[in-house]
Subunit: 126 residues, 2 copies
């Protein structure tokens, strides 16, 4: 089994102090597309409904148009779908992730990876 | 006053489950270079000595050679310096940050930035 790539790149877009788009929000949009409601999307990600609702609320306050549209709720939390603006922003974010992953395949990352042990040595006693 | 760039990119290199290099460790290496001890470096970053010590311990367990060399302690925590391997890994990491910042200046990031409000709208009541 090949080892996972040791380099992780996180991209966050800020609107003031709030995260307009980042890894968690992008995954939530994908899950809303797949499941059709905030509650089912949250469940599929092992995220609380409250947290998912707060992420959606932020996404709907920081862009010119909302990224998620919700239908009036029932016991299951009502339906939700990703708007055309949401689809577009998600796609730009995924493209940006791909661009940076490509750019990270460079001499500097190779030099770092080569100098790293396959596994950490044991911790010292503090 | 120009607004800060809305895009933040975090790069982390993993050795197994441990972070071998990331934003906090790179800043700590810079601070050790500037201040000559782990305790003074921690102070300059508003970080506890214990946390700085743990970051140094990790950095000294995940690369082929230690990144920080420490002198026997006194009350102030003893002196420390960044090793040649540490200098090299820090430079590769900073170069990688520059590469990705350059790569992020692309159509997708512009499309995201343009679609974002200057400030978030007010929060809704939950």
């Amino acid at each position: 089994m090949p080892s996972p790539p040791p380099l992780k790149i996180q991209i966050r877009l800020f609107c003031g102090d709030e995260i307009a788009m980042g890894p968690g929000k992008a995954d939530l949009l994908d899950a809303i597309k797949a499941h059709g409601s905030i509650s089912a999307a949250a469940r599929s990600l092992g995220m609380s409904y409250r947290r998912a609702w707060l992420l959606v609320d932020t996404m709907n306050r920081v862009w010119y148009a909302p990224l998620v549209a919700t239908a009036p709720g029932n016991a299951a939390g009502g339906g939700a779908h990703v708007t055309p603006t949401g689809e577009a922003m998600l796609q730009h974010y995924r493209n940006l992730q791909d661009e940076l992953a490509k750019a990270s395949d460079c001499d500097d990352s190779r030099a770092l990876t080569i100098a790293m042990l396959a596994e950490p040595k044991a911790k010292q006693k503090a």
